[in-house]
């Protein structure tokens, strides 16, 4: 029984989608639209972090790795598209020739094909997360230990990328692309096309996550967050659920990376390490953990602030970001969405002091559809 609330929600979602699809490309400058496209790609990753952290309570500090895996897959495809048009005019990417390689490494070979690269961008992170998740969750590594282990993963992955320069491009990463599926990436219309694709993929990912968190599985995730060990006595094995949500969120991160790279034109270890990984968490925290709209909103807010700061006062960005971490933990644990809700509740109470709690009605409608 679709209530009035969910009807309103769909209307709002549709309006935002139309705004992003048509109004933004028509009004924003090339530079701003490109920036927005980049943020929307990152929002896909934030949805994944929200699933695992906001909904399931597991803090992953290694999502830069999954983002990077997806980004590198796409970058490999784009780099191979350059063909012999590079500086050295060989079949190999320039940095390989420069490093003395004469043959394409085996794991680069599938990336000649766009769809293979896309598939890898999603599946490789998911498989890595499945493996790591299975090993850690099976031995009942929980809470902060999971955070520390994933942080170590971020460190190790970035070190590996830097260290294996002939295969990964080292510190510089992989950059200088020409075409995507034959379209010139420098062409403004092509960039607009990628922007539109990003909006559509983000909308689909949002719906996918919405479906997950409203399913019975979504409630199991909430139970894991509240009292994982208690859940075992109800007949659920948390390990499978945790591996699942870790893998899904890694896949979303990989997809985000694949959409990010053609818009930004570079992927490097600096997108993968400890620092970017933990920064991703704050996007979700600022927007409001445990709400999907909060994840998207927070990504836009924090990254918008970041580019505004780096244009105006670069030296103060770290102070601001640092205060954001502290403030969101101490003062606004529910983030922007939490503030909006509190404001709405207050408004409702002022209007009709005796009315039943709106949140209860919403909870009912959400559960009994």
């Amino acid at each position: 029984m679709p209530g009035q609330k969910s009807w309103k929600e769909w209307l709002l979602l549709g309006a935002i989608l139309l705004l992003l699809l048509f109004a933004a490309p028509a009004t924003l400058s090339e530079f701003r639209l490109n920036l927005l496209g980049k943020f929307l790609a990152l929002a896909i990753l934030a949805l994944g972090i929200d699933l695992i952290w906001g909904y399931t309570g597991m803090l992953s500090l290694g999502h830069g790795v999954f983002f990077g895996l997806g980004g590198y897959c796409m970058a490999m495809y784009l780099k191979l598209q350059v063909g012999t048009a590079g500086t050295y005019q060989t079949d190999l990417p320039d940095f390989m020739t420069w490093n003395g390689l004469t043959q394409l490494p085996w794991f680069w070979k599938p990336m000649y094909h766009f769809w293979a690269a896309m598939l890898c961008a999603i599946l490789v992170p998911a498989l890595c997360a499945t493996l790591l998740g299975f090993l850690t969750f099976r031995s009942r590594v929980q809470g902060v230990y999971f955070a520390i282990i994933t942080q170590a993963l971020a460190l190790v992955a970035s070190l590996l990328l830097i260290g294996q320069q002939p295969y990964t491009g080292g510190t510089n990463g992989i950059t200088d692309y020409r075409t995507l599926l034959g379209f010139d990436l420098a062409d403004n219309a092509v960039q607009k096309g990628i922007y539109v694709a990003t909006v559509v993929v983000l909308a689909l990912c949002y719906l996918f996550c919405r479906w997950i968190v409203r399913s019975r599985l979504g409630k199991v995730l909430g139970a894991i967050r509240d009292a994982e060990n208690r859940l075992r006595f109800l007949g659920y094995d948390p390990v499978g659920f945790k591996v699942f949500v870790f893998a899904v969120s890694a896949a979303l991160a990989g997809l985000a990376g694949a959409l990010f790279v053609p818009q930004v034109g570079i992927i490097s270890p600096s997108n993968v390490g400890i620092v970017p990984s933990i920064e991703m968490v704050i996007w979700v925290a600022v927007g409001g953990r445990g709400t999907l709209s909060g994840a998207v909103l927070g990504t836009l807010l924090v990254n918008g602030a970041k580019s505004a700061f780096s244009e105006e006062f670069p030296a103060f960005w770290l102070y601001f970001l640092g205060s954001l971490f502290v403030g969101v933990v101490l003062l606004f644990p529910d983030g922007a969405v939490g503030l909006l809700r509190a404001a709405r509740k207050l408004a409702a109470r002022l209007r009709a002091p005796a009315a039943p709690e709106p949140e209860l009605r919403e909870a009912e409608q959400e559960t009994l559809r």
Partner: protein
Amino acid sequence: MTPTTFLVGQLFNGLSVSSILLLMALGLAITFGLMGVINMAHGELMMLGSYTAYVLQNLFVRQFGEQNFGGYFLVALPMSFVVAGLMGLLLERALIRHLYGRPLETLLATWGVSLILQQAMRQVFGANNVDVRSPNWLTGRWQPSAGLEFPHLRLFIIVFTALAIAGMYALLFRTNIGLKIRAVTQNRDMSACLGVPTAKVDAYTFSLGSGLAGVAGCILSLMGSVGPTTGQNYIVDAFMVVVLGGVGKLAGAIAGSFGIGECNTLFESFSTATMGKVIVFTLVILFLQWKPSGLFPSKSRSLD
């Protein structure tokens, strides 16, 4: 070089790496192991210690000339403890005390603090790395036989770490304040009922752990150059030590740092430093399969 000298050399190098790890992890063993606080600013507290050494070095050079500046280090060790300890005290009073029992939240908040400290240090000392020179009495080396050499600096670090451990044990298990620290970290409510001033003890304990980070940073500054982001590079290693060792026991930190330190030097000698780290990380994950709560687990009957 005979196999024996190679082995002894390896063991020694491993031991000195382990000692540095242990010094870093010792502070964490207190703040994380005993108090359950994930202090991501631990690395920056170390850097505070390093920069203290740097400032004192420059002061001494100006005051006593290039030849006689070496005494600065004896002043720098206690000073770095005090500086980092005071910062820790401030951190605990202003932030951490609101977050006890929520480790993930302390992780995020202290990460924010670490960013702020980094930027502050960058603005005060510049973005480039600075060098802290060893005092002359630490620059020599001891050569007991051909092919074997033990730099004084590394010997000093090993001895200093051993003393620091002994001091920690004495403090925690032989003194009144140590008893209070253990009581509060084991059962806060009960201790409060028995009249232990828990808030005070929390502040002292956290500041003690922070001070130790400062000392570690002071010593570390002799091993390489120091920059605003240097601390960040060590934080993961230090946490891995505590996780491997098992949280809440000093013996765990000792065993963990020796395991990781020796393995790191061993694998580095066969491959590269990067691959050494990768292998060690993989081994730690595999080890946790076998012993999920580390080498020295603490048993508990509670549900979570």
